[in-house]
């Protein structure tokens, strides 16, 4: 069973963190990207479910480093990935 977070207005926002791993996270937000990372290091996401047709799925800002995202997320829907 996934970590499932449904029907929130906004997605997940992770800042100033190191070494977080998410497995099987399901987010259904109404506004903005499903996941925002700001100044995050060594982040590892596997098994991510999000609403279809999102213009931005993941937004990466600040000095984020070593962000591992599932290949299933289209690259043009990941904003700020270096």
């Amino acid at each position: 069973m996934p970590v499932e977070l449904c029907s929130s207005q906004y997605g997940a926002v992770i800042c100033e963190s190191d070494g977080i791993k998410f497995r099987n996270v399901h987010i259904i937000q109404q506004t903005g990207p499903a996941l925002t990372l700001q100044n995050v290091k060594n982040f590892d996401l596997k098994g991510f479910i999000y609403p279809e047709n999102l213009p931005e799925v993941v937004k990466i800002i600040g000095k984020s480093q070593n962000i591992q995202l599932p290949a299933s997320i289209e690259k043009d829907k990941i904003v700020g990935m270096k």
Partner: protein
């Protein structure tokens, strides 16, 4: 009449299932055991008419029962108006169905005592129910305990409807400003010299007495006790925190209900502070601040005390109103470790899972296992990790906006830096939250 039957230890209690598949090892929590002696508060002149003050009757009953080696002090159906009740070793305060212990709102009945509040050594008024350095103490049964909290608590206008606000203003007290009411001048003065509810710079006993009204007690406070059980009883309307086991070993909270008005300042449900071997099961919370909260002292004092909260199981609990459903912090400087939270529902809390701390705390929080949590109608974040906690609830921060500048430089890591590691969260379902998760930096509230 003294009876010598009917053990109250409830030997049938079986919590073994809680240790199955536990991801860390911990000793089984000892259930308190009591002698079969039974006395009733009426044996010592008690009268459950709602008016007669029963402080002395409870005191005499506890003393007599203690001299017999302990047992059950029965409180029959009725309204038992009283001042503070001090439990001692081997006493089970048992509230029959229909029994209400109603604590007097007369502040003079509650002398100042040395204790720890908000993680710091300080003085507070004596708790309505307390025990210190006791072994085998319990509150059981089907009755309820009411702390007359409305007499003690300050009130913020924004938290109540207009008619209630007007009623409170009319009752007396003083206003700090047009939106913040205090019950007495002493209460307001205490607030003005306090940092996070703990007065600073008081040097004399007379100065303490000037602000005594501000020093609202936790309703149930067990300090340095061993083998503590709360079972079956309703605890409501506390002056500040509702239940505060502090520095205790072997604590069982089973099938209790904890209520406070949603507007109650510091109206926490249970604050398990620096306790070891704790079970919180099948209990319901509907409170004005954090519901199930883990603490271990504040800043340097907490680090020097070095008493972590450890070996804690929370299982099958429901939380309705509350700032956080399950909370660690913000006073966690003594550390917290080996905590399992499973099979809980948070139904209308401000935040579901809430971790909070700040620079200066230090302390290590580790080996936290959270699973099978179901949430609905969470006002702000299902999962909040706020390490820049400023004392506001998440809803208050949201309402106020956060004008603090974004931190652009990260301070160096020292022993004042709180650390969180090995936190495992799985099988969480949340519907109708404002935001899924938020691990914020200062100034970044959306």
């Amino acid at each position: 009449m003294l009876l010598f039957s009917c053990s109250t230890a409830r030997a049938a209690n079986n919590y073994d299932y809680l240790y199955t598949n536990l991801p860390f090892s911990m000793p089984k929590v000892e259930v308190p055991v009591f002698k079969n002696n039974v006395v009733t508060v009426t044996d010592f002149g008690g009268l459950g008419d709602g008016y007669t003050l029963n402080t002395e009757a409870f005191k005499k009953a506890i003393s007599a029962l203690s001299k017999m080696g302990g047992g059950q002090l029965t409180v029959p159906a009725g309204v038992w108006f009283t001042g503070p009740i001090e439990l001692v070793s081997n006493i089970n305060l048992h509230l029959d169905k229909g029994a209400l212990i109603l604590f007097s709102p007369d502040f003079t009945l509650y002398p100042l005592v040395n204790t720890i509040f908000e993680g710091l050594a300080t003085r507070r008024c004596q708790s309505p129910v307390s025990a210190r350095n006791a072994v085998n103490v319990a509150i059981t049964g089907e009755g309820s305990i009411n702390g007359s909290g409305e007499a003690w608590r300050p009130l913020k206008k924004a938290k109540v409807i207009d008619s209630y606000w007007k009623k409170v203003i009319k009752s007396g007290g003083v206003l700090k400003d047009p939106t913040y009411w205090f019950p007495t001048k002493g209460s307001l003065k205490g607030e003005s010299i306090s940092d996070s509810n703990v007065p600073r710079g008081i040097m004399t006993d007379s100065s303490w007495l000037e602000v005594k009204d501000f020093l609202r007690p936790a309703m149930v406070n067990f300090i340095e006790c061993r083998n503590v059980m709360l079972q079956g009883v309703l605890f409501e309307n506390s002056p500040s925190w509702n239940i505060h086991p502090l520095l205790c070993t072997n604590v069982i909270i089973d099938n209790i209900t904890v209520r406070n008005p949603s507007y109650s300042q510091n109206g926490d449900g249970i604050d398990v502070e620096s306790c070891k071997n704790v079970l919180i099961v099948k209990s319901t919370f509907d409170v004005g601040d954090d519901a199930i909260c883990i603490k271990s002292g504040k800043d340097e004092e907490g680090r020097l005390r070095a008493r972590p909260a450890e070996n804690i199981i929370v299982d099958n609990c429901k939380v309705f109103k509350g700032h956080g459903g399950f909370v660690v912090g913000s006073e966690m400087s003594g550390g917290a470790r080996n905590i399992s939270v499973r099979n809980c529902q948070f139904l209308g809390t401000d935040v579901g899972l809430r971790f909070k701390s700040n620079r200066g705390r230090g302390g290590l929080v580790e080996n936290i296992y959270i699973s099978d949590i179901y949430m609905f109608d969470i006002a702000t974040d299902s999962f909040l990790f706020d390490l820049y906690y400023t004392g506001k609830s998440a809803s208050e921060s949201l309402d106020d906006g956060d004008t603090t500048p974004v931190v652009v430089q990260t301070p160096p890591v020292t022993n004042e830096t709180p650390s969180f590691r090995n936190i495992y969260v799985s099988n969480i379902v949340s519907r109708n939250a404002r935001r899924a998760m938020f691990f914020p930096i200062r100034g970044s509230y959306l």
